[in-house]
């Protein structure tokens, strides 16, 4: 699924300058616990989170995740947005809740972690 489609489904706003809407997103992982993201997420995926600090960007960068959606209309500060731009990770914000966000994306075919993923 392209990032542009995710933006449309979530009625999301792009926060970072590097919003390549053609970016292909394979899977999604949602958590507010960054340790869980590090432990269980998969590469080239979308991170859905309600946490907005700079550690979210660092975590996504370390875990090779492609893009981040902040839920519940929560916006990170400018420093965090700059860090994401530096790391080339597009940031989106949606007014939907975590559950609503995941539900909408899942309904449109975006999958989570497969049992076969390590």
């Amino acid at each position: 699924m392209k990032l542009g489609e995710i933006k449309k489904i979530l009625n999301a706003v792009v926060l970072s300058k590097n919003g390549d809407m053609e970016l292909e997103i394979g899977r999604a992982y949602c958590a507010d616990l960054m340790s869980d993201v590090l432990a269980f997420s998969i590469t080239n995926s979308l991170l859905i989170t309600g946490l907005t600090n700079s550690q979210v960007i660092r975590t996504a960068d370390m875990a090779d995740m492609n893009a981040i959606v902040f839920v519940q209309g929560k916006r990170p500060d400018l420093e965090t947005i700059s860090l994401a731009e530096e790391k080339n990770i597009p940031l989106l914000v949606t007014d939907f809740s975590m559950f609503g966000t995941c539900g909408r994306l899942f309904e449109k075919g975006l999958q989570g972690r497969s049992n076969r993923d390590k």
């Binding site: 507010d32 960054m34 340790s35 432990a39 590469t43 550690q55 660092r58 975590t59 370390m62």
Partner: protein, 144 residues
């Protein structure tokens, strides 16, 4: 990949704004050396977890790395409170982190188990009241 590299990053306790900078720099070094992405991801995740631990718990610490054709070896040494029961600390979900750390998304008790999971060998040495040293290795050439 036929290069080697070695270096050290210094870490300051409670400096949360810089948490991840050392691991990010290490990741860039590994990328510049042409290490395969899946290996880089494992090293970056383990280094980041270790770095965050130092920043959460210790006064200061250092992350030493050496990259050879055979392996990536990372030693993270801190001046911190030490771990009284290492076996307990290795248990998934066990954490002594205060609430404000959890609010930042860490301290869920996955750090050490996650380092172990991401690496080929992890050694933890700790002295209560003095500090902790983690040494972990990721093999680059399984047949070597």
């Amino acid at each position: 990949m036929n290069k080697t590299a070695e270096g050290v990053f210094f870490l300051t306790g409670k400096d949360f704004a810089k948490a991840g900078v050392a691991s990010s720099n290490l990741k860039a070094i590994l990328e510049s050396m042409g290490v395969p992405p899946d290996i880089i991801r494992r090293a970056a995740i383990a280094a980041f977890e270790a770095e965050v631990n130092v920043i959460i718990y210790a006064v200061a610490g250092m992350m030493h790395y050496s990259i050879t054709q055979e392996m990536i070896k990372i030693i993270v040494q801190d001046m911190g409170p030490g771990i009284p029961d290492i076996a307990l600390a290795m248990t998934e979900g066990y954490s002594t982190a205060p609430d404000y750390i959890r609010e930042m998304g860490f301290g869920s008790g996955m750090g050490l188990p996650n380092i172990k999971k991401s690496t080929d060998k992890l050694t933890v040495n700790s002295v209560v009241g003095e500090g902790t040293t983690l040494e972990f290795i990721i093999n680059l050439n399984k047949t070597a």
